[in-house]
């Protein structure tokens, strides 16, 4: 019953999930077992790159959940992503221990550099993985709870919500740039050594992180799918399509929006936490409003309101980004900008919508040809 609801009725999702599972099996095999001179070998660099894409896909999923289904456009999802990343980064910093440049047993390098003599209270506990993992969920979740409660309660919707979320991430970016905040200021957190006792640069760790990201993405997808196919999901869609009417029907619109927003922010936090050990750095740049708005365009390019469309979008846009930035870095912003315009003007349903349209045209074409042959026979 549950599989029917989550998977079988969702063909696109099944295809995309299948591809991810395939990737999660094939890529490690090709990396570890295939000799490096073979054409089928996948380099560790590619593994990390794909792992990054998987995190982005999870993030795109979280954006699609609230934008595609509840019509809440958040231009501040980068904040939740980065907060999750910082929580993981703090754990990784504490794992460095006395191997830092200054060799202090507890304090990270940048604190020694700032002449701090003890760990600030909010760094306590981050030497334990379970605590950090909890914070990855709690910090973005709490922020979303407070912010969402304030915003939804006073019925800030649509464009206004988009702008104040953008202001939120902008404010956090400015705050995290300050050295006094105790998060490494401009440079952020970097030079990580190990995670859970394994060296972070080792091949095995990279593969594990990659597989973990793939698993998280699949889990996240199923969870989102569970939500949108539930009764709550229907209410949420009706909020998107007619908010006042839903409210008049007696549903507590604010609570529905709030819980969805909090869940989405936690997903974004998890994506950030998986992203940081793979790229090896987290800095305030992740909070920049440009980043957050880029996430939205992944979803728009893939096709909003389909969940698997978000994954398709995150992969294809980021793949294009990798291609363009290696080929000619200057042109990427032109392409990205054009993508924004094209997607909104010509492809409102994104790539997924384009596939559907092509398929439908093909179908009507074949229907037409069948009809014509039939009519010929009739003649």
């Amino acid at each position: 019953m549950l599989t029917q609801r989550l998977l079988l009725s969702d063909r696109g999702g099944m295809i995309v999930l299948g591809l991810i599972v395939l990737m999660a099996i094939v890529v490690p095999v090709c990396n570890l077992l295939v000799p490096s001179d073979s054409a089928f070998h996948v380099s560790t660099y590619t593994v990390t790159l794909l792992g990054k894409f998987l995190c982005f896909a999870l993030l795109a999923l979280s954006v699609d959940l609230i934008w595609g289904y509840a019509g809440i456009l958040s231009l501040g999802h980068g904040a939740f992503f980065a907060l999750g990343g910082y929580a993981m980064g703090m754990y990784l910093m504490r794992q460095i221990g006395d191997r830092g440049e200054y060799g202090h047993p507890v304090l990270p390098d940048f604190m020694v550099f700032l002449n701090w003599d003890s760990l600030p209270w909010y760094w306590q506990g981050f030497d334990m993985f379970w605590f950090a993992a909890l914070m990855v969920l709690l910090v973005p979740g709490l922020l979303a709870l407070v912010f969402g409660w304030l915003a939804f309660r006073s019925r800030v919707t649509g464009v206004y919500f988009a702008i104040i979320t953008q202001a939120l991430t902008y404010a956090l970016m400015l705050a995290f740039f300050r050295n006094e905040m105790g998060f490494g200021g401009n440079n952020g957190l970097t030079d990580f050594k190990d995670i859970l006792g394994f060296s972070i640069t080792a091949k095995g760790t990279r593969i594990s992180l990659f597989v973990a990201s793939a698993l998280m993405l699949i889990l996240g997808y199923l969870a989102c799918r569970y939500i949108v196919t539930s009764r709550m999901g229907r209410v949420i869609v009706s909020i998107r399509d007619a908010e006042s009417r839903t409210r008049f029907c007696g549903y507590k619109v604010e609570s529905y929006k709030l819980w969805l927003f909090v869940f989405s922010s936690m997903l974004a936090g998890i994506a950030g936490a998986l992203y940081v050990p793979q790229v090896g750095i987290i800095n305030p740049g992740e909070f920049s409003p440009l980043n957050s708005i880029e996430f939205v365009v992944w979803v728009a390019a893939g096709g909003r309101g389909t969940l698997f469309g978000a994954i398709v979008g995150a992969f294809s846009v980021n793949y294009a980004k990798t291609l363009f930035t290696t080929w000619s870095p200057e042109s990427w912003l032109f392409v990205l900008g054009a993508l924004f315009v094209i997607v909104t003007l010509i492809l409102p349903q994104g790539l997924v919508g384009l596939f559907d349209k092509l398929k439908r045209e093909k179908k009507t074409e074949s229907d037409n040809s069948e009809e014509s042959t039939e009519s010929k026979e009739a003649l």
Binding site: V159, A162, I163
Partner: protein, 540 residues
């Protein structure tokens, strides 16, 4: 503060700046007649014997020529030379070791055999006094003010007092006069007679010259007469209150100045977002285009810097306005009624425009030259000086604001804009070409963004990221003030600017910005429709 005299001097300055080129022409012809006299007297200094040189110096002082102070200060510093081969040629050594012709200032390179023209200590004192007098008698109020300030800093002695008294009798600028009075009183403080000291303290009450407080503190702590000590303490207190007041005035000014920049950035948005309901994330880039227009105009007419702004304002309005119309016709037209899509599409446009600026003008910042009439500051008193460029931009922001108000309220375009924004179908029914009005309105808003860019180019460097820095702030202003209400935008911009500047001293610039953003988010909770919400049916 003299509130009535203020605008007059202000306008006077503007007037003067427009006349400046003309004045310069007149002056040059007058100086031409003095060229020969200058050459003659300068030669006399070089050739006179050491004993007669002071007479030669006095004679040189009589010549009215802008090079006279330059030659004298070179002589004072020991940088004045005569050419070994050509006795008639007088040279000045510059700070970097190269030589220039003392009479014309033309550069001569380094390889010339020279002989230093020596000065005695007595002559140094003489030259110092002459220079002080020359500066004191200068036509420029600022130079006179600075001369008095320098004298105070170096300590007033008998020689200076005479000079200052003489100047005080003919001086008509209030600022210089007050400073001279303070200087004379400061001299009197050193007197042995306690009556003189007391009356000096009395006249120093409320004097804002920096040295006054040190001197008064000395008297308060060490003066042998208790009455003088008391008077000094009292005077110090009154000065302190006054200083605090002017500090407050200064913060308000800086706040209003920041507010005026926000206002300029936000009124364009108030049109496109407030009146038309279109979210234009490329608004900042339209400002950037305006700023680059200023830069390009300065590159095209490098010797017309004084007039470049007069050309740049209409040019930037046109360029940004046309780009805006192109954006409206090409993209936004298809997205009316879909605000979130509009937001994304215009954001994409902003990325394209930014990258285009990087490709065309290089990613480096360009600096736009400040015209002479905009540089410098308006010294109201020793504790308060207002930078001219900020003052002009403040005025400019208000002018643009009221002009826009007039366009919306008094012209037929404004009438149509309001009609279309209030009831589109009814406006069309009575024959308003709604789509044409849309394009014009958007062009107007964009043009104003371009004009804001011109103003911004006078405050910061022009770069591809120029607009980005203001876009969030200006959206905040519009949201804070209330969408669709220009007065709200004015109050919102000025309010945010002042709040920001008042928080800066104790919170730091970045934290102040963060706090303001947080406060705004909380403010929106209380008043989701801004300070001045639209009432009635138009509200939803």
């Amino acid at each position: 503060m003299n509130t009535t005299g203020q605008p007059r001097t202000h306008i006077g300055r503007l007037f003067l700046s427009l006349l400046l080129p003309l004045l310069l022409c007149v002056c040059t012809t007058a100086y031409a007649q003095n060229e020969e006299a200058l050459a003659e007297q300068a030669r006399a200094i070089a050739q006179a014997s050491l004993m007669k040189r002071d007479d030669a110096i006095d004679a040189l002082t009589q010549v009215a020529h802008p090079r006279v102070p330059v030659i004298l200060s070179a002589l004072l510093e020991g940088n004045l030379y005569s050419d070994d081969e050509d006795e008639n040629r007088i040279l000045i050594e510059r700070a970097d070791g190269s030589l220039e012709n003392a009479l014309t200032g033309e550069s001569l390179g380094t390889d010339i055999d020279t002989k230093r023209i020596p000065v005695t200590t007595r002559m140094r004192t003489q030259i110092r006094n002459i220079l002080a007098r020359l500066n004191l008698d200068s036509e420029n109020t600022q130079t006179r003010y600075e001369a008095v300030q320098r004298m105070i800093k170096e300590g007033i002695d008998e020689n200076n007092v005479e000079l200052l008294k003489a100047r005080g009798e003919v001086e008509d600028a209030r600022l210089v006069n007050e400073t001279i009075e303070s200087a004379l009183a400061l001299y009197d403080l050193q007197s042995d007679n306690e009556r003189v000291r007391l009356s000096a303290i009395k006249s120093l009450r409320g004097s804002l010259v920096g040295e006054t407080r040190n001197e008064l503190r000395r008297l308060r702590d060490y003066d042998p007469v208790p009455a003088v000590q008391e008077a000094a303490a009292e005077a110090l207190e009154s000065i302190q209150t006054k200083l605090e007041f002017y500090k407050l005035v200064e913060s308000i000014f800086f706040g209003l100045s920041l507010g005026s920049v926000l206002l300029l950035a936000a009124i364009g948005l108030a049109i496109t977002f407030g009146v038309m309901g279109v979210i234009n994330m490329a608004h900042g880039e339209l400002m950037m285009i305006g700023a680059y227009t200023t830069w390009v105009i300065q590159q095209l007419f490098p010797d017309q810097i004084a007039w470049s702004l007069a050309m740049a304002v209409p040019a930037a309005f046109l360029v940004s306005g046309l780009v805006g119309i192109a954006i409206e016709r090409g993209v936004i037209r298809f997205l009316y009624g879909r605000p979130l899509e509009t937001l994304l599409a215009t954001f994409g446009l902003s990325l394209i425009l930014q990258q285009a600026a990087r490709t065309i003008f290089s990613p480096l910042n360009r600096s736009v030259e400040l015209p002479v009439w905009m540089s410098g500051s308006l010294q109201l008193n020793p504790a308060l000086s207002l930078t001219l460029n900020r003052l002009y931009i403040l005025a400019f922001g208000l002018i643009v604001f009221f002009l826009l108000m007039a366009i919306l309220k008094r012209t037929s375009l404004g009438l149509k804009v309001r009609a279309v924004s209030q009831n589109r179908s009814m406006a069309r029914a009575v024959g308003v070409r709604a789509s044409w009005v849309d394009a014009m309105t958007f062009g107007l808003g964009s043009g104003i963004a371009g004009v804001a860019g011109v103003a911004l180019s006078q405050l910061t460097n022009v770069g591809p990221n120029l607009g980005q820095a203001y876009i969030i702030d200006s959206f905040m202003v519009v949201v804070f003030g209330g969408v669709g209400n220009l007065w709200g935008t004015l109050v919102g911009a000025m309010g945010l600017g002042v709040i920001n500047k008042f928080m800066e001293p104790w919170a730091g610039a970045v934290l102040a910005k963060v706090l303001v953003l947080v406060m705004l988010i909380l403010f929106i909770q209380k008043r989701p429709k801004g300070l001045f919400p639209q009432k009635g049916r138009a509200a939803e």
